[in-house]
């Protein structure tokens, strides 16, 4: 029983990070109907931004401490929001009227570009991420072990979700985002500045990815330029699982994939770990393509 609970906690922690990345995917898809392949690499850039920022912050704030951790995360989120906006502006906006395939290929190109330029610039060998937040073992009840890092992941994810929900449901720009996701032409006719709203969506998604990157790097302190590929892919599967375009669905999907992977790893065999995520995706696409919480989209001809 202890082992089961332990695996559950591990899975939830990992799944929350996937959920944060999945939110970015789902928001962009909801509005633009395309998968931003480069999202996983923004996650990677967030972690590297944190890596390079940490010493600078350490000069100002005492480290490791909660304050320094928050400062690094906040600044990394800003940097990645800017990166997201730049990518959208130069790689995706010119192709808004082009066939979907063109944008798909461009997105793949951007993703590869970020990864391999990262290898050139940062070096391909893994770097060790500095400890930003002091680690305390929170609980050790009967063999069960929870660390403060895991609690922080869950807490930060929860907070960001609440903040996101607030933005999307209670602010004007959130309303504009929702309008765009329902009907772009009508929204434009109603006076919504589509360019700004799309840029904002990308910025928001990228900031969440950066937060996920920092949280990931705190928990698994070895970062390398290719670290975003697999989490990005799995987060995309999570978004699809939950129903793409659906925010709570993305979170649900992330948690499900995180826990399933952990259980399969622990109880069956870890070598098939990655294949699990792929298999879940294929299954859900075959059985219920609109996802667990999604609505069926009618394709108009």
């Amino acid at each position: 029983m202890t082992e089961f609970l332990q695996q559950l906690i591990n899975g939830l922690a990992f799944g929350s990070i996937l959920a944060l990345i999945a939110l970015g995917y789902t928001m962009v898809y909801g509005i633009l109907r395309f998968i931003n392949f480069a999202h996983g690499d923004v996650f990677m850039l967030g972690a590297f931004a944190g890596f390079y920022l940490a010493p600078k912050i350490a000069a100002v704030l005492p480290t490791p401490s909660v304050a320094s951790g928050l400062a690094v995360m906040f600044m990394a989120m800003l940097i990645c929001a800017a990166i997201g906006v730049v990518i959208e502006r130069f790689a995706y906006r010119p192709l808004r009227r082009s066939p979907k395939l063109t944008v798909l290929i461009t997105a793949i190109g951007v993703s590869l570009f970020l990864e391999y330029t990262g290898q050139l610039v940062f070096g391909a060998a893994p770097k060790s991420f500095p400890p930003l937040i002091p680690v305390y073992p929170i609980a050790h009840l009967g063999g069960l072990s929870i660390t403060s890092n895991q609690v922080i992941v869950l807490a930060v994810t929860g907070l960001l979700l609440v903040a996101l929900r607030f933005i999307v449901l209670k602010t004007k720009i959130g309303m504009a985002m929702r309008a765009l996701s329902f009907n772009p032409e009508a929204a434009a006719l109603m006076g919504v500045n589509t360019d700004i709203v799309i840029s904002f969506t990308f910025a928001l998604g990228s900031a969440l990815a950066a937060a996920a990157g920092i949280l990931f790097a705190i928990n698994y302190p070895a970062i390398d330029p290719l670290m975003g590929i697999l989490p990005g892919l799995k987060a995309f599967f999570a978004a699809v699982l939950g129903g793409i375009g659906n925010l709570p669905g993305a979170v649900l999907g992330g948690l499900i994939i995180g826990t399933t992977e952990t259980f399969v790893s622990g109880y069956i065999s870890s070598t098939y770990r990655d294949a699990i995520a792929f298999s879940i995706l294929i299954l859900i696409l075959l059985i219920k393509p609109s996802g667990l919480l999604g609505r069926k989209e009618i394709e108009k001809v």
Binding site: E3, Q6, R33, L101, S145, Y220, A222, T262, G266, S270
Partner: protein, 427 residues
């Protein structure tokens, strides 16, 4: 294309585009064609087959002119030695280390007047840590650059790829650090200056039983790595033969970040120690997560741990852990200290085992050249095979009948964030 009209965002194109597709479909269904006319398509296709043929004729022509005069590479006043290593890519740290050691050795040799009266020219190629690349670069070294011997590689899988090519061309190949036994089985021109996994696995098994006095152990290996799987196998064999008990075995893949699932399962098996024969990145993370889960027993492993990045990643979780490797820079013998001093002076950091092995591989080749008295492949091979008690930086090296190096292993531990020498185990 219909996608054009309904990509979820954007204005529809005016007029013509919207009505074109039905007309196209009708034309298609009627049997005549769209923009690709039959004849025209064929005409273009003709060009493709011809261009294929012409390009190749040109290539073949130029290639034919390119064959080097003699493979010995000693036509002139230099002796050409080839080196292939992972200078970039995911295993760049290993390749860069071994390259630095080899380059230092070549410079030392040239400063002392070269070998057989000629200077050595080291031609280095990067295989980018990727499968498929070593074959190409080694062919290039042999056929285009005309080297007389090849040094490389650290990773066994890439050595395995290149070895048959060197064997086929009768070019001696010396691997600095590939520990998989299969590498030298490729042929009698393939050598290595390091010990092999059966020896290393047994060393760690003996160390665990005799020195650490462990009664039971668990294994956490990387199934995507030949090295890790092999080392684990030999460890298990040695440990159980010595009366130990293996209580659990778990796997992970290269690049995995989260090992809590496997560690939780192993914790339930209650081992006295965990053998982790992997590479430093994963080992560091494994140590961290093990301590977080409340596993307090020591971890131990092989030479894949050896890297300056191990402790930065694993931190205090690694205190009191052990691993086997090829040499220690703290070795007080004058040869090692000289080497360490020279290396530091030139590169600024302390040489690790890969650098030391890279240095030794070049030095052993030079020694064999001197004993052979010529650069002819067969003679150099004979000299290499006869190497006995060569005083290398990594110990006294004797090449045995399987062309592997018979030499001692060194056990290190981590104390206060530094690698600390523990003991030497002779074969």
């Amino acid at each position: 294309m219909n996608d054009d009209l309904s990509n979820g965002f954007g204005m529809r194109r005016k007029g013509a585009q919207r009505l074109e597709w039905p007309a196209q479909m009708i034309r298609l269904a009627a049997g005549s064609d769209g923009p690709d006319d039959n004849q025209e398509f064929f005409m273009k296709n003709w060009r493709s087959l011809i261009s294929e043929a012409l390009l190749l004729a040109a290539g073949v022509f130029f290639a034919g002119c390119n064959k080097p005069a003699s493979p010995s590479g000693a036509g002139g006043e230099v002796i050409k030695i080839g080196e292939y290593a992972s200078l970039t890519g995911s295993e760049a740290t290993f390749g860069q280390s071994s390259h630095k050691g080899t380059a230092l050795a070549v410079d030392d040799l040239n400063a002392a007047g070269g070998v057989l009266g000629k200077k050595i020219q080291l031609i280095t190629e990067d295989d980018q840590s990727q499968a498929g690349q070593p074959a190409t670069v080694v062919r290039k070294l042999i056929s285009s650059d005309g080297v007389m011997a090849v040094l490389g590689e650290v990773a066994s899988s890439r050595s395995l790829e290149a070895a048959p090519i060197c064997q086929e061309n009768k070019i001696p190949m010396i691997s600095p650090a590939s520990t998989n036994p299969r590498v030298t089985e490729a042929g009698d021109y393939i050598f290595r200056v390091c010990f092999i996994d059966p020896f290393q696995g047994t060393v760690m098994a003996n160390f665990a039983r005799k020195t650490l006095k462990l009664k039971s152990a668990a294994v956490l290996k990387e199934t995507s790595s030949d090295y890790s799987v092999g080392l684990a196998k030999y460890f298990v064999a040695g440990f159980t033969a010595d009366g130990g008990n293996i209580v659990g075995e778990e796997n992970y893949s290269h690049g995995d970040k989260d090992f809590s699932a496997q560690l939780t399962a192993l914790k339930a098996d209650n081992p006295d120690g965990i053998f982790v024969p992997g590479y430093y990145t994963e080992v560091g993370l494994i140590a961290l997560q093990a301590r977080q889960l409340g596993i307090t027993v020591p971890l131990f492993g092989g030479d894949g741990w050896e890297s300056s990045s191990l402790v930065p990643i694993g931190g205090r979780a690694l205190e009191g852990c052990y691993f086997s490797t090829h040499y220690s820079p703290q070795d007080t013998s004058p040869a090692v200290q000289n080497f360490v001093k020279e290396y530091r002076a030139r590169y600024g950091d302390t040489p690790d085992a890969m650098a030391a092995l890279g240095y030794d591989s070049a030095m052993i080749l030079a020694d064999a050249l001197k004993r052979a008295g010529s650069t002819e492949g067969a003679k150099v091979r004979e000299a290499l095979a006869a190497t006995k008690d060569f005083a290398g930086v990594t110990g006294k090296i004797t090449i045995d009948s399987n062309r592997n190096a018979s030499k001692p292993a060194v056990i290190l531990t981590i104390t206060n964030g530094q690698f600390q020498y523990v003991e030497t185990i002779k074969p």
